[in-house]
């Protein structure tokens, strides 16, 4: 499904400010796999997702998606295969447009014609999708997204990202800016949609418990490389203690990450 081969991303190469955000990173994901990615601030998690989505191009390496080499395919073309939810609720939705208009934009991904966008037929179909979220959004379809709460916005963003059955779903700490109650709700919705549509998913998180609870595979990203890869049975039996053990085995002293365990 996804094959990232030897990805390197260097910012400001050849200058004193050079940053190697990703350093020869490789991973292969099979269809339907749910990968959680854990790592501290600045480890390169967002950069990794940016490379897969095509927001950034790698300095070196190759990305194959669904059997196609997409390494140099621009983001808006790759978007046909990629669904994405960002860290900030504001980033995934157009705030000045209505809930229905936002959903319509997600509905006909890439194919924007001269048909009227929000029709009654579409609205009733979308209403059903919204009802499943349990956020009360089905009653607010004609309201601007700016009037919604962060949780509602992020719920809408998750629905928009999954509406067209992407080949791969990318979640970038998408609950990090929400309060615990909303974060839990959005995680529930995410899990529900991913399972229902059997989506291949990469979820970046700051939160060890989240990374352990969700998904069937976990990788740890540290200074631009994967330093641990836990799969199958081992992933099922993973606990915070075992994860910490993995850290110390690899001599990763990372106060910030260890703090998030509690």
């Amino acid at each position: 499904m996804l094959h990232a081969n030897n990805l390197t991303k260097c910012f400001f190469p050849g200058t004193p400010n050079e940053i190697v955000a990703l350093n020869g990173l490789s991973i292969e994901l099979s269809e339907g796999q749910f990968l959680t990615v854990i790592g501290s601030n600045g480890a390169g998690k967002t950069t990794f997702l940016n490379l897969i989505a095509g927001s950034l191009f790698p300095s070196e390496g190759k990305i194959t998606l669904n059997g196609k080499d997409v390494t140099t395919v621009p983001e808006h073309v790759r978007a046909q295969m990629v669904g994405r939810v960002f860290q900030e609720p504001g980033m995934g939705t157009a705030s000045g447009m209505t809930v229905a208009q936002n959903l319509v934009l997600a509905l006909n991904k890439g194919h924007k014609g001269l048909k009227i966008g929000v029709t009654q037929d579409r609205k009733s179909a979308l209403r059903e999708e919204l009802e499943q979220l349990g956020l009360g959004l089905e009653e607010r379809m004609n309201e601007r997204v700016t009037h919604l709460s962060g949780g509602q916005r992020q719920g809408l963003a998750v629905l928009m990202a999954t509406l067209t059955m992407p080949k791969i779903l990318l979640l970038d700490e998408h609950t990090a800016s929400l309060d615990p109650k909303n974060a839990r709700k959005i995680l529930e919705i995410t899990e529900q949609l991913v399972t229902e549509k059997n989506l291949t998913t990469i979820m970046v998180t700051h939160d060890m418990n989240q990374a352990i609870d969700l998904g069937d595979r976990l990788v740890m990203l540290h200074r631009g490389s994967f330093v641990a890869d836990v799969n199958g049975k081992k992933k099922e039996q993973l606990t915070v203690d075992k994860l910490v053990e993995l850290f110390s085995e690899r001599n990763i002293v990372d106060d910030e990450l260890l703090l998030t365990m509690t």
Binding site: G90, M91, G92, G96, K109, L114
Partner: protein, 306 residues
């Protein structure tokens, strides 16, 4: 009375230009200064071709296409050459000054003695005794038709994608839209409308002048802001209605200022000063309202609640 009618006529014909400004400044969030040049271009092409004996409709159509080409050029400067939006527009505006002079062949083309579209329409309406109102009716029909088309377009999938490009570029790229194409499209439509306005103004005032576009962007902005301040912005249709209303009010204000300004010692050459002052006042108004907590509803925002 005739002063009143003149103000409405001008409000309507310049309203097309203001709708163009709305599309760039507000919908696309692209402060496009091409307007001063594309307005003159529309007027210049229409006048030059009319004088050369072309069919006046064809002349106007080519004027509109000229404006669309100018907008496209600005769009390419911005998206393909990564030149700052503001600078892209200024560059096009600047080069259009020379291009317009080339097209016109001289700085001023009088249309006296030429049969324009407005003349044709006037003889039509004179037959039924409405000759005095022919310009008003013609501009009204054109503006209402184009406003309806714009309202419709911005509710299509493509139109929604264009609005989203101005609202949240990252989001709409992730939804598979090439925002470069959207920006170029928006700029082309906008400057096509501006050139349309220019072509009609040339026929209305009986000449095209290479300097007639100077300060046009400010007049357009003033109309947009006045409209947003006075009318609700709860849907796209309301916003465009506001812009048209704003354009009429703005023209009326200019006329009153010119007419009664004489008593205060103003001259016709002070028009640009008055224009800029009106815009400053209009720009200040929402802030004044905000500061005084008089804010009614949402901040003016190009958005929708149906």
């Amino acid at each position: 009375m005739s002063l009143f009618i003149n103000a409405i006529e001008q409000g309507l014909v310049y309203g097309l230009m203001a709708l163009g400004v709305l599309i760039t400044f507000r919908v696309l969030d692209f402060p496009d200064l091409t307007v001063d040049g594309s307005f003159t271009m529309g007027a210049g092409i229409t006048a030059a071709l009319t004088v050369a004996g072309w069919n006046p409709y064809l002349a106007l159509l080519l004027g509109i296409l000229g404006g669309m080409a100018a907008g496209t050029f600005t769009g390419i400067l911005s998206t393909k050459l990564n030149i700052l939006n503001l600078l892209s527009g200024i560059l096009t505006m600047t080069l259009l000054y020379s291009v317009n002079l080339r097209i016109m062949g001289r700085p001023n083309i009088p249309l006296l003695g030429q049969t324009t579209i407005l003349d044709q329409f006037n003889s039509l309406l004179s037959g039924v005794g409405l000759g005095d109102y022919s310009n008003l009716i013609f501009f009204g029909i054109v503006l209402i038709a184009l406003k309806a088309l714009i309202d419709l377009f911005f509710n299509t999938e493509l139109g929604l994608a264009l609005r989203a490009t101005g609202d949240n570029e990252q989001m709409i790229v992730a939804q598979g839209v090439n925002t470069d194409v959207m920006k170029v499209l928006g700029l082309a439509i906008s400057n096509g409308l501006v050139a349309f306005s220019g072509g009609l103004v040339a026929q209305y005032s009986g000449f095209a002048d290479v300097g007639m576009g100077i300060g046009m962007i400010i007049a357009g902005l003033a109309s947009v802001i006045v409209g947003e301040t006075l009318l609700p912005t709860k849907s796209f249709m309301w916003v465009t209605t506001g812009v048209v209303t704003g354009s009429i009010i703005y023209r009326a204000a200019i006329m009153l200022a010119l007419r009664y300004g004489y008593n205060l010692g103003f001259k016709a050459s002070d028009l640009k000063l008055i224009t800029a002052l009106i815009v400053i006042v209009a720009l200040a108004t929402p802030h004044v309202r905000e500061k005084l907590n008089f804010k009614i509803g949402e901040k003016a925002n190009l958005s929708e609640t149906e």
